[in-house]
Amino acid sequence: MKTFIVHFLIAFFGSYVYFQYGDPVLPYNAIWAVAVWVIIMFILWLSSPSYHRSYFHKLPKAFTFILFFLKELVIANLKVAYDILTPNYRMKPTVIALPLSVTTDMEITLLAGIITLTPGSLSVDVSPDCKVLYVHTLYVKHNDVELVKHEIKHGFERRLMELTR
């Protein structure tokens, strides 16, 4: 995480300085600025195995996690939109108690936020000993609560733990 922040700042200032004071070889617009930023990040990432080995493996996982999250966000929105626009409700709201494997405060916060933004669910509360997360879910297939828990645990929680551990 620290390495990522340092690399991010180096790439950001590099891109900024290049476009503010460098030669006007590339046209001054947003796409080229982002492209220069990506190139600097990529070069720094290639140099990382010599001093921070796990960062080299974690950055691709972080990008796949963000893409997976955006995909789930769009799918959740389409499901809810379909339910709003058709006259009958397809949803079966359920409050599930999700046992947590993550322990630290930051992981629980991230997981609760991600769950709130994705498949038709709203995280209601964490139990006082931080072991159980109560989630209000809209779509339960075949009245099978365990399946929903399995999907959340093996979709988001596993990926999040791969990143933070």
């Binding site: 891109s15 900024y16 476009f19 001054y28 617009n29 947003a30 796409i31 600025a33 982002v34 966000l73 769009v74 959740a76 929105n77 809810v80 939109a81 339910d83 709003i84 626009l85 409700y89 949803m91 079966k92 709201p93 359920t94 409050v95 599930i96 108690a97 916060t109 609760a112 936020g113 991600i114 709130t116 933004l117 994705t118 038709g120 669910s121 709203l122 995280s123 209601v124 509360d125 139990s127 109560y134 209000h136 809209l138 339960v140 009245n143 609560v145």
Partner: protein
Amino acid sequence: MFENVNFLLIREIISSVLIIIGVMFMLISTIGLLRFPDFYIRMSAITKGATLGLGLILSGMGIYFNEPDMFLKVVLIICFTFITSPVAAHVIGRTAVRNKIPFWDRTNLEEFKDYMHNEHQFHRDHEKDNRPNK
């Protein structure tokens, strides 16, 4: 090679499509806010719709103007919205449970009974608030 391609037109088309999709999501989630049967379901509809709609509208705007400074601000606004809006939803939902806002009658509350029993026994915020001052 790129001499006779109209980049402004391409940018305008992409940004218009993004903005229209974002506005559609916001409109649909607003209809859901009016139409859904229960406080919690309304919450989950409005959080997702508004967040995704705002993200799409802003990224459409950033692509249209196509300046590095503007794009940086757009990306920052999207990041902060994605961080803060679930926190707001979580706090509002928790307050609703504590204040005994009823669930929809078709809601399956099997695993939530113990929790609700405890909360309603120990936290009587709503009664404290409604008590007349002596």
